[in-house]
Amino acid sequence: MSDLVAAFSITPVPRLGVLLRLKLRILANRVGQLVNQSPLALIMAMVFIGTIWIALYSIFENVFVFLRRFEQPAVIAIPYVFHVFFVAMTLLLAFSTAVISYGALFSRDEPSFLLAMPHAPQNVVTIMYLEALFFASWSLLLLGMPLMLAIGHVQGLPWHFYLVFIVAFLGFVPIPGALGLLAALMVALWLPRLAKQTLVYAVGAALILLIVWWGRLWAVSAAESNRWLTGFLSELEFLKGAMLPSTWVTHAIRYAIEDRPRDAVFYLGVTLSTAAFFSWAGVAVVGTKLMSAFGRAHSAPNKAKASSGSASQAVADVFFSYAPPQMRLLILKDIRNFLRDPVQWSQLVILFGLLALYLAYLPRSRPDGFTVAWQALICFLNFGAVTLILSTFTSRFVFPMISMEGKQMWLVGLWPLSRSRVMWAKFLYATTITGLAAMSVTFLSVRSLALPPVLALVQIGGTLSICIGLCGMAVGMGARMPNYDEPSAGRIASGLGGTVNLIASVGLVAAGVALVGGICYRMVQAGELGSLDGYCWLMFAGLVVVGPLASWACMKVGIRRFQRQEF
C-alpha cells in the first residue's frame, strides 16, 4: 500500500525524455530506411491506405446525405452514429492497448533490458503506454478522420468543429488506453502463462455477446416500422449512459455541430481531465506493480505438454493423402503448429462460429420467409463477410509462414525437397484449412437462405475461388516480401509486407464482392434467382477465374523469389 502511495507522488524523471528520444529515433530510422530502401513498397502501401480512406469517406458522406433526406430521423440518428462509433472504439482501443502493452511490458526482450537500468519502472510504463496508444489509435484515425470530414462537409460546419473533433479524439484515446494497460497488468499478475488464451477467450466472449445482442436487434427488425424504431432505439439506449466516456465525446461533437461552444467545451474538459487522470493512475498503478508482474510473467511454470500427435496425423492422412510423402510431412508439422497454438485455431473457430451463429438466427427471425431481394442481399452480404474474414485470417496466419520457415532453412533447405514444393505445401495446407472453414459456413448460408441451385453455385464457387486466391496471395507475397529477422508472426503480419498483403487481399475480396453483387443485382432486377443471363454467366466466370489467377500470379512471383533467396 505504501508503494502505491509513493507511486502516486512520483515526480517526472529526466530519463523519460531519453526514452522518448529513443523511440523517436527508432521511428525516424524506420521511416528513413523505408524511404531509402523500399520507396515503391511504401508508395504502394500509402496508395492503398489512401484508397481505403477515400472509400470510407465516400461511404460516410453518402450515409449522412441519405440521413439528411429525413429531417427528424436524422436529428435522432446522427448522435447514435457517434455513440455507436465511440463505444466500438472504446472496446477496440482498450483491447488493442492491452495486447500491445502486454507484449511491450512482459513478453519482449526490451523490458528486461530497460528494467535492469536504474530508473523508476513508471518511466518504462509511461513510454510503453505512449507507444501502445500511438499504435492502437491508428484504427481511430483511419475511421474517425473520414467520418469527421464527411459530417463536416455534408453539414457545412465551421472550422472550430474540426478543432473540437481533433481535441475530442486525442482526449478520448487515453481513457480506453489506460483500461487496456490495467488489463495487461492483471493478465501478467494472475494469468501469466495464459495470456494468449485469455486474449482469445475474451475476444470470443465479447463477440458472442455482440452477436446475441445483434440477434435481438434482428428480431426487433421483424416488427412493423413504428414499433421497430421504438424497439431499436430502446435497445441502443444503454449506449447513451451519462458515465460513459463515449457519451462525453459524442456530446462534445454534437454540441460543436449544433454551434453550442460552451457545452462542447464543457464535455471536452470532462473528457480531457478524465483522460489525464486515467493515464496518471494507470501508469502509477502499473509502474508500482510492474516488477512483481514482470517476475510472475517470467517465472510462472510452463505446463504445456505435447499431445501424442495422433489427431494431427489423422488430419494429414485424411485431407492430404494425395500429397507426396515429404510435402505431407511438412504439412503435418504445420497442422501440429496450428492445433497447438490456441490463437490460431480459436480465431478461426470463433470467427466462423459466430458467422454460423448469425446464420442460425436467419430462419427464426423471418417466419414469413425471404423475398427475392432479401435472399440476394443476404447472400451477397454473407459472401462479403466470409471472404473478408478469410482475408484477415490469411494475412495474419498464412502470410508469415514463409518468413517463419526461413529461420529453419538450415534444416528445410537441406531436405531433398525443392523450395517450390515447400511453397506448394504451404499453399495446400492453408487452402485446405481455410477452405474447410469457409465452405462449412457457406453451405450453412445456402441452406438457411434456401437459395436456388444457381445462386448457391455462385456463392459456393465464388467463396472457393476467393479462398484459393487469398491463400496463394498470402503464401506468394509472404515469400516475395518476407521478414526473416522478426521472430514474432504477429509482427511479421503487421509489418510492411503484411500490410501490402492485407490491402491486396482486401482488393481481391472487393473484386469478388463486386462480381457477386453484380450477379445478385441483375437477378433481383430480373425478379427471380433461378437462372443466370449471359452477363451473369460472364461475371460468374470472372469470379471463378479471379481467385486462382491471383493465386497463380502471386505464387509464381513468390516461388521465383524464394528459390533465389539466400539464407
Binding site: 528486461s112 536504474p118 505446463k303 529477422d485
Partner: protein, 249 residues
C-alpha cells in the same frame, strides 16, 4: 562486498529453480558461475539484477538491498544477458549514446567512452549500420561495450563468449581481468570451462538450484577425488540424479 546472496530461493510453481543459495563476491574478483543447463544460473542472475524477486532470502549489490533500494543497486551494476538485446533500428553508436544518457553520463564523456569501447571491441567498422544486420557476435560486442559505458562496479555477464571469435574472446578476457585489477567485480555465468579456468579468481558450481561447490580453482581441485581438470570436477559434481539416468535409459 560487491554481491551478497543470503539464503536465496526462487520457485517456478513446484520447481525450486534456486534452492537456498548463499554467495559472497568481493571487489576485485572475477567470479565464474558454472552449472549444467537448467541448473538455475540465469534465474540467479536475474534475481541479482532485480528482474526477478526471490521468494526467500536477500540480495545486496554494493551494499544496497535489491528488494528495497533497487535503483541504487542497479546504478552500480551492468548486465549482459545470454541473448544480447539491441534495438533493431538503432546503430551501435546510437545505442551506446542512449545507454550513456540513461546512466546520465556527461555528453562528452559519453562520446569518448563509446569511441574507446567500440575501438577496443572492434565495433567501429559497423558502428553506423542498423543493428538488424548484425551477427550474434557483433551484437554481443556492442552489448558488452554498452555494459561498460558507465564503468559499473559490478558487471554481471551471462554466457559472455558465445558467438565471439578467438581474438574477441581474448580481448574480453583481458577486459574482465583489467576490471578486476581496478577493483571492480565481474560475475560471469558460462559453459566455457576453459575461460573460467583461465580468468576466474573463484568458481561456484550450481546443480539443481543448489551450490555444490565454491572456491578457487585450487580449492576445487583439492576437493576432487582423483582428476585435476575443471572439466572433470564439473562432471563429477553435476552428475544427473540416478532416477533421471534410469528414466532416460
Amino acid at each position: 562486498m560487491s554481491i551478497i546472496l543470503n539464503h536465496v530461493t526462487k520457485c517456478y510453481g513446484r520447481l525450486r529453480a534456486v534452492d537456498d543459495i548463499s554467495l559472497h563476491v568481493v571487489p576485485g574478483e572475477v567470479f565464474a558461475f558454472l552449472g549444467p543447463n537448467g541448473a538455475g544460473k540465469t534465474t540467479t542472475i536475474k534475481m541479482m539484477t532485480g528482474l526477478l524477486a526471490p521468494d526467500a532470502g536477500q540480495i545486496e549489490v554494493c551494499g544496497f538491498p535489491m528488494t528495497t533500494d533497487a535503483r541504487a543497486a542497479k546504478a552500480r551494476l551492468a548486465y549482459v544477458p545470454d541473448q544480447p538485446f539491441l534495438y533493431q533500428k538503432l546503430s551501435a553508436r546510437e545505442f551506446l549514446s542512449f545507454v550513456g544518457q540513461m546512466y546520465e553520463l556527461d555528453p562528452a564523456l559519453c562520446v569518448e567512452r563509446a569511441n574507446q569501447f567500440m575501438s577496443m571491441l572492434d565495433v567501429t567498422r559497423f558502428a553506423d549500420q542498423l543493428a538488424e544486420g548484425y551477427s550474434h557476435g557483433m551484437k554481443q560486442r556492442v552489448v558488452l561495450a554498452a555494459a561498460l559505458m558507465h564503468d559499473p562496479q559490478v558487471l554481471i555477464v551471462d554466457e559472455p563468449m558465445v558467438g565471439l571469435d578467438p581474438r574477441t574472446v581474448r580481448i574480453v578476457k583481458d577486459i574482465f581481468r583489467k576490471r578486476a585489477e581496478a577493483g571492480r567485480t565481474v560475475f560471469m555465468s558460462t559453459h566455457t570451462l576453459d575461460v573460467a579456468e583461465s580468468i576466474a579468481d573463484r568458481i561456484a558450481i550450481i546443480n539443481h538450484g543448489r551450490i555444490v561447490a565454491c572456491g578457487t580453482l585450487a580449492e576445487l581441485k583439492a576437493r576432487a577425488a582423483q582428476e585435476h581438470r575443471l572439466e572433470d570436477i564439473f562432471l563429477e559434481l553435476t552428475q544427473p540424479e540416478p532416477s533421471l539416468v534410469e528414466g532416460a535409459s
